[in-house]
């Protein structure tokens, strides 16, 4: 048995079903072993960055660790943005890179890059495999680290000679013993009791949920908790979908690009339970002011997030699902009022004041709000919706209505070109669900190489391109802050998408201001296979403020 065979066995032992990647001399031996030794599906991407995004989409829908693997040097450096994207959103990945022969490391040979060094600040952990015997232990640890505590990407860099070296005996460890890594799961009982005291005292309590709720698998318990105590809920961008969008207790996304009512509700609350959210700049404008008029309870699995941007009144470290179970098991929970109708009624009254003015755009174009309204009505209840980055992301956050489905996007890093590969990965985790990727014409151009991977894998994702012939988010920024400049934001020379669709043998639907929106959208969504929908958007359309 070789090192590569052992690596393949490790993935098998971990229950890996699919690997996303791109081969090359320094990783070919591993892929050969994987094909010979296992049934693991190999998905050949067209650019390495997409391998990490696909693994991310897969991980977020399957709840398992996403695995990707690329070759040394440029393969590995191309993967970096994908790793950083996963790190920013705490997505569990194991990323395997080939490396040049051990005795060549450091001599700048062909396709050598210090990927461990380059990736250090955005991996949860990394390994350079020096001896073939270390492979089982390292893989076992890598999967454990990626998928526990605050989840995140782990990098394993394997020199070619280690992959090819002989290993006489393979035994996969049953358990991991890392003396320096013991994430807190259980919440501190004293702190939990303090939270209940505050809850029973509060007149205007609110929950703000983030992506950590999904990582912890705590969606159901959070929904139950909110309903049991009639707590209004707001979310960060990563927390969209924790509550169904139309749940009467849900008031939308907070932040600069969020709902006015959501921000007002968070500001007016006298008790804020921040759950699995970072209190980052995009969600909370002035974190230093947040505790001025309220008690802040910050619940997160990562102690370093608590107090990083805002000093909480009650810090509570642990796994969210675990902590909420503990909260509900406390005797004193009985003292918490289950009715907050006065506070809710205030919010419902205020909500009507925040009606977004629909911009009257050129009738030749589709109004974004109207488009998302139709899409929300017509898409499947359990659809996986993946938003790219740019104006399309903000419109998606504001207008899409999630029911029993999921909302995915690159929240922390804001990586353009995330939606299509992530949707392909998501589709592999849920072959029977409708998966919709929405991107702008900019993000589409960055990721359209993956249409080939999508075809090769017969992934039936529905791709929506909001075409405004602009890098709209920056155009809008320049409109407000840089003298309405059009520098570097005009997209010309883009391909005719109907011809492009034809080139990939994909159905194509185009919607402009004169189209029968529902009918065309239905045609697109009912396509059995993958399809492209081009939606013509006013180049001067702005996001709601």
């Amino acid at each position: 048995m070789t090192g590569s065979d052992a690596m393949a066995r490790c993935l098998q032992k971990e229950g890996v079903e699919v690997i996303f990647g791109y081969t090359g001399a320094a990783i070919a031996s591993f892929y050969e072993s994987l094909e010979r030794e296992t049934q693991i599906r190999q998905v050949l991407v067209r650019m390495e960055q997409s391998a990490a995004h696909m693994a991310s989409g897969y991980a977020r829908i399957s709840g398992k660790v996403g695995v990707c693997s690329v070759t040394s040097g440029p393969g590995a450096t191309n993967l970096l943005t994908g790793i950083a994207t996963a790190f920013a959103d705490s997505i569990p990945l194991v990323c395997i890179t080939g490396q040049v022969n051990s005795d060549m490391i450091g001599s700048d040979v062909f396709q050598e890059a210090d990927i461990i060094g380059a990736a250090e600040s955005f991996v949860k952990y990394s390994y350079l495999v020096r001896r073939v015997q270390e492979i089982p232990q390292i893989f076992k640890e890598a999967f454990h680290i990626a998928n526990t505590g605050r989840k995140g990407p782990v990098l394993i860099d394997v020199p070619q000679d280690v992959q090819e070296a002989a290993l006489s005996r393979f035994s996969y460890p049953e358990e991991v013993h890392l003396r320096s890594y013991k994430p807190t799961v259980k919440g501190n009982t004293v702190q939990i009791r303090k939270v209940i005291t505050e809850l029973s005292r509060a007149e205007r309590p609110i929950l703000c949920v983030g992506g950590g709720v999904f990582s912890s698998g705590a969606v159901e318990i959070i929904r139950d908790f909110a309903h049991r105590f009639e707590l209004p809920v707001v979310s960060t961008m990563m927390g969209i979908g924790v509550m169904p969008s139309e749940d009467p207790l849900y008031f939308g996304m907070v932040g600069n690009n969020g709902e006015g009512i959501a921000n007002l509700a968070m500001n007016d609350a006298d008790l804020l339970l921040m759950v699995g959210a970072r209190v980052a700049d995009r969600a909370v404008n002035r974190p230093d002011l947040i505790t001025e008029n309220k008690v802040l309870v910050h619940i997160d699995v990562d102690p370093a997030e608590i107090g990083k941007n805002v000093g909480p009144t009650i810090p509570l470290v642990g796994d969210i699902a675990h902590i909420f179970r503990e909260l509900l098991n406390e005797e004193s929970i009985a003292k918490v009022p289950v009715n907050h109708s006065a506070w809710l009624n205030d919010l419902y009254n205020d909500k009507s004041k925040f009606k977004v003015k629909t911009q009257s755009s050129d009738p030749a174009f589709v109004e974004p709000a109207a488009f998302y309204d139709a899409l929300s009505r017509l898409m499947d209840d359990d659809a996986v919706f993946v938003a790219d980055v740019g104006q399309n992301q903000i419109w998606s956050c504001r207008y899409i209505r999630v029911r029993s489905g999921r909302f995915l996007t690159s929240g922390g890093m804001g990586t353009m070109g995330y939606a299509i590969p992530a949707a392909i990965g998501a589709q592999m985790a849920a072959p029977d669900r409708q998966v919709i990727a929405v991107c702008g014409d900019g993000g589409f151009a960055m990721s359209m190489a993956e249409l080939a991977a999508m075809r090769q894998e017969k992934a039936g994702i529905k791709i929506v391109v909001l075409n405004n012939r602009r890098l709209g988010m920056v155009r809008e920024y320049q409109h407000y802050h840089l003298h309405d400049s059009r520098a570097m934001v005009v997209l010309e020379g883009e391909p005719d998408l109907s011809l492009l669709a034809k080139a990939y043998d994909l159905p194509y639907v185009r919607i402009d201001g004169k189209s029968a929106l529902d009918r065309e959208l239905n045609v697109f969504l009912r396509e059995h296979d993958a399809a492209i929908l081009e939606v013509m958007i006013d180049p001067d359309a702005n996001t709601p403020h």
């Binding site: 060094g117 952990y125 350079l128 320096s180 890594y181």
Partner: protein
Amino acid sequence: MNKIYSVLVENRSGVLSKVAGLFSRRSFNIDSLVVGETDDRAVSCMTIVSSGDERTLEQIEKQLNKKIDVIKVKTFDEHAAVARELMLIKVRYNKSNRRDIMENCEIMHAQIVNISKSMMLIQICDEPENIRTFIAMMKSVSIVEIARTGTVALPKCAD
């Protein structure tokens, strides 16, 4: 404000750069960083002195704890610790100042450990503040070169 972090880490290659990289990545100051093996060869002890506001100093401890190669972090103030630094300082001397230098060495418990016709090499091991004082004293003489270890520290004994 200053803090001393005594950090036990796995004695593996790359750990120093991971810890140092954390400081630069998050714009934390490193006033000094010393690393050496402990009685257990698998474990090294890093002594890091850093400065910043309260929130930064707390973040440093939390971010250090997040590093998977970090086994334990102890944070303390200089006054709660025994802190020492070793310095070698080479000075140029002449007949007129030779006596002064030797007297200063005596006052500061520094030793002359190597000498030539025009230069002497002085060793001093003391609290960081006294090292700074000694450098200031030697500035009136001609300093040729200096090598300092940086601060090592352990919390004071408590039963």
